[in-house]
């Protein structure tokens, strides 16, 4: 066996479905490999841990060339909701949990979850706005302290 990764700190900065899931899957996968994992939510990524907003995470249909939709179509009312519904069905088929259940699962794996202080202040949020799995609201400096000696992944 060669070198192995002992710790990852994953930053989730976007609030779209396609912006949130990759980081969650990587954190959960890290724990399954016995790797210590911390998740740090910043900017619109805070929606992923927001008690109410986490239930309504949508796929981004504008400015997302991967969908192969004309930009104007992506902006029409209902398109984002319909595509999100379709994606959720596809994910359910391969047993990828919805975000609230996924957060519970990741919390149970022992991964750490933290909110970014600057973003929390900017959006006028409080600790009580977030799910119980969120341990703390921390500064960038505290994040780096926590991430020391491991890999940092920005999504």
């Amino acid at each position: 066996m060669g070198e192995s990764i002992e710790k990852v700190s994953i930053v989730i900065s976007k609030g779209s479905l396609d912006g949130i899931y990759p980081g969650l899957i990587m954190a959960n996968g890290a724990r399954a490999e016995g790797i210590e994992a911390n998740l740090f939510f910043t900017f619109f990524g805070l929606d992923a841990i927001h008690r109410k907003r986490m239930e309504h995470i949508k796929i981004s249909t504008v400015g997302n060339p991967g969908l192969h939709l004309p930009t104007m179509v992506g902006g029409l009312p209902g398109v984002s909701a319909a595509l999100t519904h379709y994606m959720e069905n596809q994910m359910d088929k391969v047993d990828i949990p919805m975000i609230p259940e996924f957060m519970e699962l990741i919390g149970d794996t022992g991964a750490g979850m933290y909110a970014c202080l600057a973003s929390v202040d900017m959006f006028g949020l409080e600790k009580s706005d977030f799910i119980d799995q969120v341990q703390d609201i921390i500064t960038v400096g505290e994040f780096y302290d926590m991430a020391a000696g491991g890999e940092i992944i920005f999504t």
Partner: protein, 105 residues
């Protein structure tokens, strides 16, 4: 491919220590295999998970992921990580003598 001796028996393993032939595994090997993965004290729940891994492998040809284990083995995800801190599905598969489960969730 390599071999190693567990409980006095020579078995085939891959370079990560997973059995390549699950038929070579016996329950007598468990304490030694568990100790290699840092588990010195085996409790009943360890055995529940190990037997579940064996059954799932026999039935489906692949071991379950942590999420599947948590949903179907009767042991919760939280407990699974207490029992196998270095990765429940991975370590349980290695101790249960089956290949490493593949799956991202």
């Amino acid at each position: 491919m390599a071999t190693k001796t567990v409980a006095g028996v020579e078995v085939d393993v891959n370079d990560e220590g997973f059995f390549t032939d699950p038929e070579q595994w016996t329950e007598e090997m468990v304490p030694e295999l568990a100790a290699e993965d840092g588990i010195d004290e085996l409790v009943d729940e360890h055995w529940t998970v190990l037997r579940f891994m064996r059954d799932e492998y026999a039935e489906k040809g692949t071991g379950p992921t942590v999420r599947v284990l948590g949903k179907t083995s009767g042991v919760s995800v939280k407990e699974l990580y207490q029992l196998f801190p270095k990765g429940p599905a991975k370590i349980a598969a290695r101790v249960a003598g089956i290949p490493k489960p593949r799956g991202c969730i």
